[in-house]
């Protein structure tokens, strides 16, 4: 027994011995400490990064020619370019570069550097390069299509697009301007500095990367004399903390200032704590149902309409999706140009029953719902199975892993499937082109890039309307066109749009002006005070 007591005393002494060290644990006043799950980062070369956490980081290290206002993400504001214009032909865009801006290396930002940086995106041709190459740029022609003269960069496109489309794409992370000379000085095997930029930064942003360790975190240091005005907090420390409950403890103890990966349960646990606050934002992801039009009954417009009335939108967002997803019934997420916030559909079993009776299909209609075996999706599928059942549609769940479900959908072998989709760049065309365009609906086309093709739906006039919208030069008209397209799509397509992602950030009460970028996912650290 005596031995046991001794062991306990040794342990207690060790624990007590650590107490003075633990008292130092509040965040330093000149440092913003953020906890997030950043294991999605593949690369932080801005011309390769395409994951949320990497794009967030780069938003603070680099700048684009034109920016979205962090406080109001559907407004375009000047970035490295002081002004921009499109020529009468609708093909030639020019950007006048501000003078006197330097990269963290001290190199000056010139029209030549900006042109070379945009060319680098196309020549490097990594995953997000399509955001620029969709304007007809190729590694072969890019030196002719993107040129510079004096303080002006000129971009030529292969055909006339809506200028807002081109501008919005130039606000995407992939269009960040890189100090190409510094990157090329660190080139290995013709990689244009890609490897070096995975652990260093070479930008004009408010911060400079001091250290980056995958799955562990990163450290940023503010630049002095930044063109936008110096960042208000000198250092940013990002800590990779994957577990929400752990983030909550850290935040409550004051070891971090911002927690970005908390679950609704963790968030609701913060209520009544005056030291903390919660900020609600939207995210870009959407939940939707896709009905395969090769199945005769599912191509019946009355059946499709019945289904729109047979989903318990509010029931789900009030319970299983609480705090995570909100009801949203159009294909453009809130925060995008032309996004529709109307939600005309709600659960109405009687109406759905009447529509099914009118449709002439044999009742009960038997269909399968293909769903991925993850908790949230299964919960949604079961809710749909339940309400569809009440309306007269017997749903069998066809459960598979991510790969199986995706393969089935891409091969057009599903009947109904529940899916999510997120925008690729901050312009309405990203979603419109996939939900409302399908140039060739034949099986042979294998146009899996179009969601409309995957579910074998021919959008008919919506395709032409989408083409017209992406070429419309008047911003207001363009907005109105997307609203029209979405209304028609919402009421007649083979999709039932259901929910938009919400994001909840928990902060220490003294932290202000932290912008997550909403549906375009690009956080701004330089505006934050604490």
């Amino acid at each position: 027994m005596k031995q046991g007591l001794n062991c306990g005393m040794v342990l207690a002494a060790l624990l007590l011995g650590t107490a003075p060290a633990a008292l130092l644990a509040e965040t330093p006043p000149d440092t913003l400490v953020i906890a997030d799950a950043i294991d999605d980062i593949v690369s932080i070369d801005p011309h390769e990064a395409f994951e949320f956490s990497g794009v967030d980081l780069n938003n603070n290290l680099y700048d684009t020619l034109i920016e979205l206002d962090p406080a109001d993400p559907d407004q375009l504001i000047p970035g490295l370019a002081e002004s921009w214009a499109v020529a009468e032909d609708g093909l030639t865009y020019s950007f006048k570069i501000k003078s006197g801006i330097t990269f963290s290396s001290g190199n000056e930002v010139t029209a030549e550097v900006a042109a070379n940086s945009l060319r680098r995106v196309v020549k490097l041709n990594k995953t997000p390069a399509f955001i620029l190459t969709q304007f007809g740029l190729t590694p072969e022609n890019v030196d002719q299509m993107i040129t510079f003269d004096g303080d002006t960069v000129t971009l030529k496109t292969d055909k006339a697009y809506a200028p807002t489309f081109v501008y919005n794409c130039l606000t995407a992370g992939v269009a960040n301007i890189v100090d190409v000379a510094t990157a090329m000085a660190n080139e290995v095997n013709g990689d244009m500095g890609n490897e070096w930029l995975k652990s260093n930064s070479a930008g004009t942003g408010a911060y400079v990367l001091r250290s980056f360790k995958p799955n562990e975190g990163y450290i940023l240091e503010a630049r002095t004399g930044h063109w936008r005005g110096d960042a208000l907090i000198k250092n940013v420390l990002m800590r990779h903390v994957p577990e929400g409950a752990t983030q909550r403890l850290l935040l409550e103890k004051g070891d971090i200032d911002i927690a970005r990966e908390m679950t609704p349960t963790d968030i609701s646990g913060l209520e009544g704590n005056a030291d903390l606050k919660v900020q609600n934002d939207v995210g870009g992801q959407l939940y939707y149902l896709a009905m395969n039009q090769k199945v005769e009954a599912l191509a019946n417009p009355k059946v499709l309409e019945a289904m729109r009335w047979a989903v318990d939108y509010k029931g789900m967002t009030d319970t299983i999706l609480k705090g995570q997803w909100g009801v949203h019934q159009a294909f453009l997420p809130k925060g995008f140009l032309g996004a529709l916030e109307e939600t005309p559909y709600s659960l109405d079993i009687e109406k759905a029953k009447a529509l099914l009776a009118e449709s002439g299909v044999t009742l009960p209609l038997e269909v399968s719902l293909t769903v991925r075996n993850n908790q949230e999706r299964m919960d949604i599928a079961q809710s749909i199975q339940n309400t569809f059942g009440q309306a007269g549609i017997t749903v069998t769940l066809d459960v598979g892993d991510g790969k199986q479900v995706l393969e089935k959908y891409r091969a057009r072998q599903h009947e109904i499937t529940v899916q999510t989709w997120g925008p690729d760049y901050p312009d309405p065309h990203t979603n419109a082109s996939t939900f409302a365009m399908n140039p060739d609906n034949s099986d042979e086309a294998k146009a899996t890039g179009y969601l409309a093709w995957r579910t074998a739906w021919d959008p008919k006039e919506l395709g032409a309307m989408t083409e017209a919208a992406v070429a419309e030069r008047d911003g207001d008209k363009r907005k109105a066109m997307y609203e029209d397209i979405q209304r028609t799509h919402r009421d007649t397509s083979a999709f039932v749009m259901m929910f938009q992602q919400m994001s909840q950030t928990a902060l220490r009460a003294n932290v202000t002006n932290f912008y997550t970028g909403g549906a375009t996912d690009s956080a701004a650290y330089w505006t934050v005070t604490k």
Partner: protein, 353 residues
């Protein structure tokens, strides 16, 4: 002509050489088997390596191009031959997600796990062995009951639950230990810029740099996860020690020693312990190897950037080269620890020499 066919009496050197050869062969076969297993697992799991590279929006042409580039059109045996050839040269492939060499990535995560597992095992042995002996020498007493109940709790309670409760009590409420992560935020930045990182193990690096303030802070952070994992390992070690020791104490040579009037501590700690050590070394090595795999849940809760979370992340991202590379490294650690325990076995047991 000299007659070399005449065999002389087997010399000690020859015996050692033969043993090394046999063990070397066993090692090669074990490692090959390990590679074959991981290779086959990589081929049968329902994860499409091509799709995880190109993403769901790729065209059929992009898909086929990547499939060819990965060599997935070759026959299976040839793919395996290439895999073994590369592995022998220390090339475990490139991670699909990051396109970094897997071995380099593992080298970055392993020190955190090694540091945690070593401290945990140390705790497990230092507490577990005396506790087991205590219980064995006083069977049925209160001390024995306490050791058994405490051991049973370590055995049966889920580690992630213990971790969360541990954090809540010792960090959240009492403030005795540092929180999740390897250092406080302030020290984390200082560690990056002011400490020469020789090993990647914070306790060792800060000690080598003479940064004792940082050492203390790192210790306050590692003590809870290490104590927790150590508790689980202690539960196992104390249980096994108790049973081995009870077995030895019932032997005739112990009775003889006692009859000869040898002090009880000497009977237990010298005579019996010497024999208990033999199986106990295997138990400790196995428990250490188990911890070196990286404990995923503990690492997640404590935001500990170790091997377990690396392999799990890779698995979720369908990054098979990283998963298989991690598996090979963990397998190799098992093999190495087994060999080490064999060697130690011989040191403590002359009959095995």
């Amino acid at each position: 002509m000299t007659d070399i066919s005449q065999p002389g009496p087997p010399s000690r050197v020859a015996a050692i050489a033969r043993r090394i050869a046999t063990e070397g062969a066993t090692l090669v076969v074990t490692l090959l088997g390990l590679l074959l297993m991981t290779f086959l697992i990589g081929r049968v799991v329902p994860i499409d390596p091509v799709l995880s590279i190109v993403g769901e929006r790729a065209t059929a042409e992009q898909y086929d191009a990547v499939r060819l580039a990965l060599g997935l059109d070759e026959p299976l045996w040839k793919q395996f031959a290439i895999y073994v050839g590369d592995a022998l040269q220390g090339d475990l492939g490139q991670s699909i997600r990051t396109r970094e060499p897997v071995l380099e990535e593992i080298a970055r995560y392993f020190p955190a796990t090694l540091e945690l597992a070593t401290l945990a095992t140390l705790f497990g042995v230092l507490v577990g062995v005396p506790a087991g002996v205590l219980a064995a020498t006083r069977p049925g007493t209160l001390a024995d009951q306490v050791v058994r109940v405490v051991g049973l709790m370590g055995y049966s309670m889920p580690v992630f639950w213990l971790g969360l409760i541990g954090l809540l009590v010792f960090y959240g409420m009492l403030g005795w230990v540092g929180g999740p992560g390897r250092l406080d935020s302030a020290y984390q930045m200082l560690f990056e810029f002011e400490v020469t990182q020789y090993t990647g193990m914070i306790l060792i690096d800060t000690a080598l740099n003479g940064r004792w303030d940082m050492f203390a802070n790192a210790f306050s952070h590692i003590v809870l996860p290490a104590g927790l994992l150590g508790y689980v390992s202690m539960a196992y070690i104390s249980r096994m020690t108790r049973s081995f020791m009870m077995n030895e104490l019932g032997q005739e040579y112990i009775t003889t020693a006692r009859v000869k009037g040898m002090p009880e501590w000497r009977v237990v700690w010298v005579h019996a312990m010497r024999n208990v050590l033999v199986p106990l070394i295997t138990v400790i090595a196995l428990s250490y190897a188990y911890l070196l795999e990286g404990s995923v849940l503990t690492e997640t809760i404590f935001a500990w950037p170790g091997l377990g979370s690396y392999i799990t992340n890779a698995l979720f991202a369908a990054d098979m080269p990283a998963v298989l590379g991690g598996t090979v490294v963990v397998g190799a650690v098992f093999v190495a620890l087994n060999m080490l325990s064999d060697i130690l076995y011989r040191v403590v047991d002359p009959r095995a020499r």
